[in-house]
Amino acid sequence: MAGIGFELRKAFKEKSLFSLVHVYGYSALLSAGPWVISIIAILIVGLIEIIHFQSDGGHVVRFQIIVTYAFALAATLITSGVLQLPFTRYIADLIYAKRESEVLGTYFGSLFIVLGIGLPLFSAITYYLLPDTLMINQILITSIFLVLSSIWLSNTLVSSLKYYKEIIWGYLISYITIIAGAYFFGNSLTSLLVVFFFGNSILLLFMMTLIIKHYKPKQFLYFHFFNKQRFYFSLGFAGLFYNLGTWIDKFIFWYHPLTGEAIIGRIHASIVYDIPVFLAYLSIVPGMAIFFFRLEADFAEKYDLFYSNVREGGTLEVIEQYRYEMAEVLRDSIRELLIFQAILDIILFLFAPRLFSLLHIPQLYLGLFYILTVGAMLQLGFMSVLAIFYYLDRRKKAMWLSLFFFITNGLFTWYSIQLGPSMYGYGYTLSLLLSFSLSLILLQKTMESLDYETYMHYSISS
């Protein structure tokens, strides 16, 4: 996403209130837009069902939960989990090596593998989760898994192009189609699944068009990306563990007999946890925008200067200066992120009781919501440090940190449920407090020895 930093910096230089809103609004859309748009659209579909079709909400709830599972599993198991980071890195390497003609082939090759592995895997998962569901629904759910996986892979590539506005428009058009489809045809679970599949297929085709338009192919299919020597396993595992870590507390709450219950087939949900955690995640959108801007605009600039001086033989003094400036940007960004998010959380805490009653959300969720909001803030911090590690090519550190987060979140969440309702949410939050603190220590150590490690790396590579 290096190009976006330049665009954002340009807009920010205008120094007007409008440019500030424009920059942060745009950053929010790029960093969190797709998932916020999809969540809001799914909620609107629910409202349409209840208001327009006067439904009792039964099949809407089943639809929303199936879609959540599709997001969770598709994200965790194949695309975002294992493939997204290595794929991004491999594409970056191809572009750096001026082998852009291989990009399209690699994309189609990856898509081919995703669908090839995904079809039997997701068919089996669907059959296991929903053994008594209509065959047509099973086929539709498997198709949704596959189309979502493909979208995530395509999203990775399409984000590296300069079609930022087009991506946001793509998401909007796709989800408006889903909302309109739900309004006109969504009076059953099957029709809602068809509408959701159709809307996402439009998005996938839209993204594919942008990719094909941009990259000229040399060969239609490339599978080099999956070569043992070329595949970035550490990045694959880092992505997998991070996504497992993000979803493990939800899975535990869904399947723990004290907190979850079966909704349809073997698909569970948690009346206790789902709403507060969803609201807590929404609270970090502004913080994500700020960090995204800082990372892509300020940090990327210093990073480029530092590494170009290393590559092109800059003096030690200049290199040291850029390293110092990089650390400065990181320090300011993390501080700014924490202070801004803390202020936002305090405001949220003050208005949450009134907001909840306005939205008819039970006040009983308040306690858990407060704790999870603190947890989400820490996750934002942790996510940001991981992003810096990916920038600095510290894949193993990111992998071990993600593994740590996954294990502690799983263990603490499970134990917090044993300790009773007053401790719900503490498992997730404590796990993130530890992971975030540990990531900061490692970041500091990395920055201290960045010159040495970079020179060692370059001397070994060359």
Partner: protein
């Protein structure tokens, strides 16, 4: 310019420790145990969520009777009859007097819910059980207003009038001037044919209930007739008449204020018709005529007089009065007709003599 390693600080270890301490303090302050308990005990909706929280809290604190009671109540609202009954049976052990009463009430409500959806035979079996539970409930213990109404309704449904009367008496101890509860007591007493107490209650109601005073007077009158107490019946009859008259006079006043003079005159004439004494009749007639004269309804005056003139053929004073008005109003034909009537009457009397 040189940069030493100590200058390169994204974050210091002291800051990391500070961060951990700050977040730990925030998490400690946010510990929601007390808030959760308060919210659960006062939650009046979202029973699925409340019940899940309660079950988990009880798992850790199985002897917490307050939580058990709350769970039993929540389960009842979720229509989980078995769970409610199971919990009430568990709670029966070592229950205080107040708790026992709450348990009985919960059991009653649970069986009542079962009754509503039960098959015919089960319904028949449940009825005596419900009545027995009603009889066991001690209404001398405090009840909320909603509960008082609920139980009265339930006991009337099962025709458990004796026990309903106990409840009503209990409520009246705290609200002796409550018209609603006094009237309920009167209804119950009448169903139980306890006439002496009915008389006593109706006397209180006559004193308190100004709004339905007429209704209670009528009831008191019928009750006296029923008891063959003629003296009292005559007393209430007089009261009824006076009240009736007062009410009509205030109606007339209202009509005059609204400018509806003909309607006001009509009410005077209704009073005329209802009166049995001649003096009274003359009074209402003259009031009606005076009102119509004041507002210029000449024809209406003579119309009224024509309708009542036959009542006064024996009264020379009134005949003179009526004739005078006919002549004043230029109604010579009416005056002639009345004179003829008088002559005919005199002739008839002479022949008879």
């Amino acid at each position: 310019m040189t940069f030493n390693q100590s200058k390169i600080k994204v974050i210091t270890y002291t800051e990391i420790i500070g961060l951990i301490i700050i977040f730990s303090t925030i998490l400690y302050l946010l510990y929601p145990k007390a808030m959760l308990e308060n919210q659960i005990l006062s939650e009046s909706s979202n029973y699925d969520l409340t019940s899940r929280y309660l079950k988990n809290m009880l798992r850790l604190d199985p002897s917490n009777r307050v939580l058990m009671f709350t769970l039993a109540k929540t389960a009842l609202k979720q229509n989980k009859i078995d769970l409610t009954l199971r919990l009430t049976h568990l709670l029966q052990e070592n229950a205080s007097k107040n708790e026992k009463n709450t348990i009985l009430q919960l059991q009653y409500r649970a069986y009542k819910q079962e009754y509503l959806y039960a098959a015919k035979e089960r319904k028949r079996a449940l009825l005596p059980q419900l009545k027995e539970l009603q009889n066991k409930i001690d209404f001398s213990l405090p009840l909320t207003q909603e509960e008082q109404h609920y139980w009265l309704h339930e006991m009337l449904w099962l025709q458990n009038y004796h026990h309903a009367l106990l409840l009503v008496d209990q409520v009246l101890k705290n609200k002796p001037k409550s018209i609603y509860w006094l009237s309920q007591k009167y209804e119950l007493l009448s169903r139980l044919h306890r006439t002496k107490e009915m008389q006593k209650t109706i006397k209180t109601l006559l004193k308190i209930d100004k709004k339905d005073h007429l209704y209670w007077l009528r009831q008191a009158y019928y009750l006296a007739l029923q008891n063959h107490n003629t003296k009292e019946a005559a007393y209430y009859q007089d009261q009824l008449k006076t009240l009736h008259q007062t009410q009509n006079l205030s109606r007339i006043q209202k009509k005059i204020e609204q400018g509806l003079y003909l309607q006001a005159a009509d009410i005077y004439m209704q009073l005329y018709t209802q009166s049995h004494q001649k003096e009274q009749k003359i009074r209402w007639l003259k009031e009606a005529l005076a009102l119509l004269q004041q507002y210029g309804f000449v024809n209406e005056r003579t119309k009224i007089l024509k309708s009542v003139e036959d009542d006064f053929l024996d009264d020379p004073q009134m005949v003179t009065f009526i004739l005078k008005i006919y002549l004043e109003s230029d109604k010579l034909e009416d005056a002639v007709a009345l004179s003829k009537k008088l002559l005919d009457k005199t002739k008839l009397n002479g022949e008879e003599e």
